[in-house]
Symmetry: C2
Subunit: 465 residues, 2 copies
Amino acid sequence: MKPNLPDHANAPSDAQRVQALSRLIADAQPVPLIAFLHALPPDDTPYTLSHLDDPLRTALFSLLAEHDADLGADLLEHFDDVYAAELVSDLDVAAAAAIVDEMDSDEQADVIGELVDTDAQAAEAILDAMSPEEASDTRRRLRYDEDTAGGLMITEYLHYPADQTVEQVAEDLREHGEAYAEYEVRYIYATDERRGLAGTVPMRRLVMAPRGTPVARLMAEYPFTVTVHTPTDELEDLFDRIDLSAVPVVDEAQVLCGVVQRAAVQEARGEAAEEDLAKARGIVGGEELRSMPVVSRALRRLMFLVPIMLLMMVSAAVIGLFRDTVQRVPLIAAFLPLVAGLCGSGGNQAVAVSMREISLGLVKPADLGRVALLEALPALINGVALGILIFAGVFLWERDAALALVIGTAVPTTILLAAVIGGGVPLMLRRAGLDPAMASGPVVTTLVDLVAYFTVLVLATLLLT
Amino acid sequence: MKPNLPDHANAPSDAQRVQALSRLIADAQPVPLIAFLHALPPDDTPYTLSHLDDPLRTALFSLLAEHDADLGADLLEHFDDVYAAELVSDLDVAAAAAIVDEMDSDEQADVIGELVDTDAQAAEAILDAMSPEEASDTRRRLRYDEDTAGGLMITEYLHYPADQTVEQVAEDLREHGEAYAEYEVRYIYATDERRGLAGTVPMRRLVMAPRGTPVARLMAEYPFTVTVHTPTDELEDLFDRIDLSAVPVVDEAQVLCGVVQRAAVQEARGEAAEEDLAKARGIVGGEELRSMPVVSRALRRLMFLVPIMLLMMVSAAVIGLFRDTVQRVPLIAAFLPLVAGLCGSGGNQAVAVSMREISLGLVKPADLGRVALLEALPALINGVALGILIFAGVFLWERDAALALVIGTAVPTTILLAAVIGGGVPLMLRRAGLDPAMASGPVVTTLVDLVAYFTVLVLATLLLT
């Protein structure tokens, strides 16, 4: 590996990189290929690998499985889990197992977990071909929910019987030093005779202590622990509150079974936010990449679009009821989507703030009244401001004071209701046990559409016909 | 601190907690107050504190500033930066400085940085009242962008001249052990005479080595380093690729000035995703909490709604051009928002996938053609499926084959264009140097509205009038 981040001046273009790598793979010469991959800047690696033709990418990982499985594992960990699972499933079983064997224990479970979802048989075959310890660790881990300490913990950590001395620990470190390089080594964990956690010892104290000291003498009296079932949310709050970088994980029998690190919890939080972002834009499951098969992409998108269409047909029916009004004032057709869309945007701003406050733990479903009030106040200000602007706009455009009055009144009315609806719907979905990330948008949009159409058309019927 | 996460059975209700805490603050007895706060489960802390009346919350932090500033700092770090800055700005300067003094160096800069944005004078006053070292560290740090290694690094780390021995390091650890408890201590950093970085030594090697060994003998030959200006994106890619949990940060003169930790980079990534989520829903700047002043919340929301309104008036004008068609086929008014909304949702799904692939480094602006093709394929499938469904729906509703044909043709046409537009717009905004998180939605919605209105109305004019 190069000592520093490489200089980007005079770097080859993206296309040149892809071409050079393609040629090296086609040549099937592992030495220059591996050297090239090591020299590739980290931030160009996913782009370059994703732009290889599919058969070349498979050939690359097959070569790496044979000659440098560790590098193959590093490259794979670099990808999104879904994408990594796709890559693995294209390899033959032995090559896949060789690479997955070298991954970190938490990443192994993530990738195999994705594979179980799409092709359980392939996942089983790879597990059977992996080294028995790695496979049994992965199988155990797959039993835990991804969003719990059991799913996030690593099983590479240092543990010693509490009655060993610092010298005995140092001896072990000398013996297995290289193997431990990728371990969580801020703490060592002292265990009792049945592998229950006796205490944690910061590595620092081992440096300080005389070499003959027993580990038991150095450990924190009441170590913080979580169980395999502690959810990610609670871990986040815990790490927000305490200054530890890692916490030991125990099972129901208080047996030590892993360590969950602050970085893993932060990473899970980031992934959850990225998934919510995709869900908010209508991606079912929160995960789609363009490398996935076209038909499955289409079907997953359709799962969101069909309910949307049905909801929209319901609100369109409201407009159908007022077709006489539309016939007499056809220009109203131009303002229906405008009022609904504008106020829908206002409603979605309120959704954003509720979602954020839910994730920060600042609001709960019981706070509905308070949220409604705190949404109504800014919505009143904005409703009046937008109402005046749109009254002026419509009047200047059509020179029709009555039409301008209808639209200028409908906007503040609708936006006020939209803000209250937008603030409240995520809380109500949450109370109903549904995921507000995906459903809030369509539900709020539909309700706001109904309010907007009804308000505009009733006012138009009263004042314009 | 309690040894384990507390049991949630028989826990007091949220309201009872808020009430109990309010009473303790009103009594102004620091000892029971501090005991209560320590016993509060981490995941209930933000909720309880945010539901205190404003004057009580200010009184709480004033009390903590005097009696347990460290706890005050811990509680403050528990909050979102914006919220923490609000809390700090409500305290008197001495209390604010006492609490900020106890925060981690990266959090200090985040909170003071927020305060600089809203009330630069208050920020300056607090810096003046802080301990001189902490203040000068924070001031130095404020010069770096939040999204760089300089903004993310901590300055609490262990560094020793490379010629010191393990015993001398152990001596220092014994002397300052407690102060170092919150330091990044996975590595120690060996420096040369001008405080340039000479190498990094994993703590583990200090445990293994004979006590007389000089540090220089233990250090990694080519330590990975980043500069204060390395952006978060690159740090993410770096930590994806390497197995280190922290990397030293140097300035232009190669002088060691901090350590950036994997957890901090993951946290920044999570915050960026959460901000993008809020931006996607129309929150300018990506940050709003309902505790902020009503007028500023209203104005920030208005900054998004006014451009939306102007864009929507442009597309509404298209409908205005076809008012004769609407008069003759008033039911078309019901389908304009339906087709536009449905296809807009399809366009936003494509936006989601482009945003995700941009953030994973899988696409760049040059890939526009490839993205368009990969969006067109699933859109064709979905367009046909939705077109058939909506043709059937309209025909059953209105028994009007011509109307059903117009809508059933407009949907696949529009959704195909919507997917290509949605996939492409984030790439084009990116190329133009704009933030696609916020602008993609409105731009795509407006373009899809125009396509939808135009397609439906032209077809209606041709086939129905």
